[in-house]
């Protein structure tokens, strides 16, 4: 559905490219994530792929059409949400959704149902100027789904949301995937990337440092351990042992036999640990 090859882009007047020779492809029914720190080029890549920055080098194709040459009709098929809310503030939530519905040829979803799903039903008749950032972001998200597009491009879909609403949005994204939609999302939150993405690309300074399924990344880079907490002579101790060859590990077996064990946890590297290890940068 999305095929990007050797894509580079430099903003006019800037010396350093914001996107520097990246390649990836996203298949139908896949959630593909861009994980990277601020300024990595995530939003820029999204802008290129949705056809809003056409002076890029290399190739970016959506639905088998090079986006440089695509027509306005593309937007019948893709839904986009940006990292900042972009809504008519003197209009209510429902008025906003109804207006945008009218711009599509294809049948749109019922705006009230969407609002209900993101917990904005009670606020449907409130003007957006009275909304918090989180409420606006949820409304923004509804708008991307409004025309039930085959592909979704979501720039930081859960930023500015409290955990319970972030959960709701994540569930809705997974639901869309299960309905066969293709989803491209950007985030600097490793939990979001880990929970949602079928594959994730680490982006730093406009380059992809690593690209794979989150699970594979954690397995390949993180060494897995068990951490055991035990009490000896009234004092709490903890010790770690490699997961591999655990059953033959004498020290571990002795400990289990002789001490009063309180907790046992298996530990694997988080995406963020791997990110730091691979790129030498934090996600902050």
């Amino acid at each position: 559905m999305i095929t990007v090859k050797d894509l580079s882009f430099t903003y006019p007047g800037s010396k350093k490219p914001a996107v520097d020779g990246i390649s990836f492809s996203v298949g139908k029914g896949e959630i593909f994530g861009f994980l990277g720190p601020s300024g990595a080029g995530k939003s820029t890549t999204q802008h290129i792929v949705i056809g809003l920055l056409r002076t890029y080098k290399g190739s970016a194709a959506v639905r088998d059409v090079e986006v440089r040459t695509c027509t306005r009709n593309l937007y019948e098929h893709i839904g986009v949400s940006f990292e900042l809310p972009n809504l008519y503030t003197k209009f209510t939530a429902l008025e906003n959704l109804k207006f945008f519905s009218a711009l599509y040829e294809r049948p749109c979803r019922n705006p009230m149902e969407l609002l209900e799903q993101v917990g904005l039903k009670e606020e449907a008749h409130k003007r957006v100027s009275d909304f918090s950032k989180g409420m606006s972001m949820r409304l923004n998200f509804c708008r991307a789904l409004l025309h039930d597009p085959e592909m979704l491009f979501l720039d930081e879909p859960t930023s500015g949301l409290d955990p319970s609403y972030a959960r709701v949005i994540k569930e809705m994204i997974l639901q869309e995937r299960d309905r066969g939609k293709t989803i491209f999302l950007t985030t600097h939150n490793m939990h979001t990337a880990d929970e949602l993405c079928d594959r994730v690309a680490f982006l730093v300074d406009g380059r992809i440092a690593l690209l794979d399924a989150p699970r594979n990344i954690r397995m390949a880079y993180g060494s897995s351990h068990v951490r055991i907490e035990y009490r000896s002579e009234g004092v709490l101790h903890q010790q770690s042992f490699p997961l591999e060859g655990m059953g033959r590990n004498r020290d571990l077996l002795d400990l289990l036999e002789q001490e009063q064990v309180e907790t046992i946890h298996s530990q694997e590297a988080s995406l963020e640990d791997v990110f730091i290890q691979v790129t030498g940068r934090t996600l902050g």
Binding site: I50, G51, L52, L53, R54, R68, T69, C70, T71, R72, N73, L74, Y75, E76, I78, G79, V80, F82, L84, P85, N86, L87, Y88, T89, K90, F91, F99, F100, A102, L103, Y104, E105, R143
Partner: protein
Amino acid sequence: MNRKRLLALLYQDIRFELRHGMYTVYAVLSVIYIFLLRSLPETIQSRIAVILLFSDPAVLGFFFIGGMVLLERKQRTLSALACTPLQAGEYLAAKSISLALLSLAACSIIVLAGLKTPISWGYLIIGVLLSSCWVTLVSIPFSLTADSLNDYFITAGGALLLLCLPLFDLIFSLGWKAAYLFPTHASILLITGAFRPISPGDTIYGIIYLAGASVLTWRWAAARLSARVLGGGDHED
């Protein structure tokens, strides 16, 4: 151009103008214009009326379209529209039509309430509608690039002031021939035609020149909008 999208955006723009208080501003100014006209002696009433009726679509249109586009940029709704199938032409048409109708309504009320003498409505309607569309289209590219409302007033205002040179010709009755090169001269002629007969040549010149200028400006504005906001692809499959 898709009718459904155009009508949806037109309805949205009219409500946007209403909610951002543009109709209120127009109503207040119209009342002031009406009192001004009524207080004038009849000998100069129609000449002042031409200036007021020209400045209505021209000057107010310039303020309103600038304010509107800058508000749309601030609320980032332009970037939202860029991600819908909406085309540049539909955007320009909705803005031009909504503001031209507003201007025509205001001018009609000013004429009906402010003047006792009858006028030829055909000239007024065509003159005001065309002038308004042209000013809207000229102003849009400036409002897309201006950094602030001040910046807009300086750049677009400066350009428009130059284009309004024929107003001096009207005020001081200079009979300046080069005025015919300015679309604003065509505006003034057509609006003048509402108050006293103008020659068939002037009528034809006025309509064709102003309409032609609007078409060219339309193309320029559509190209600017497409490049600045819509990313360049401005047509359907």
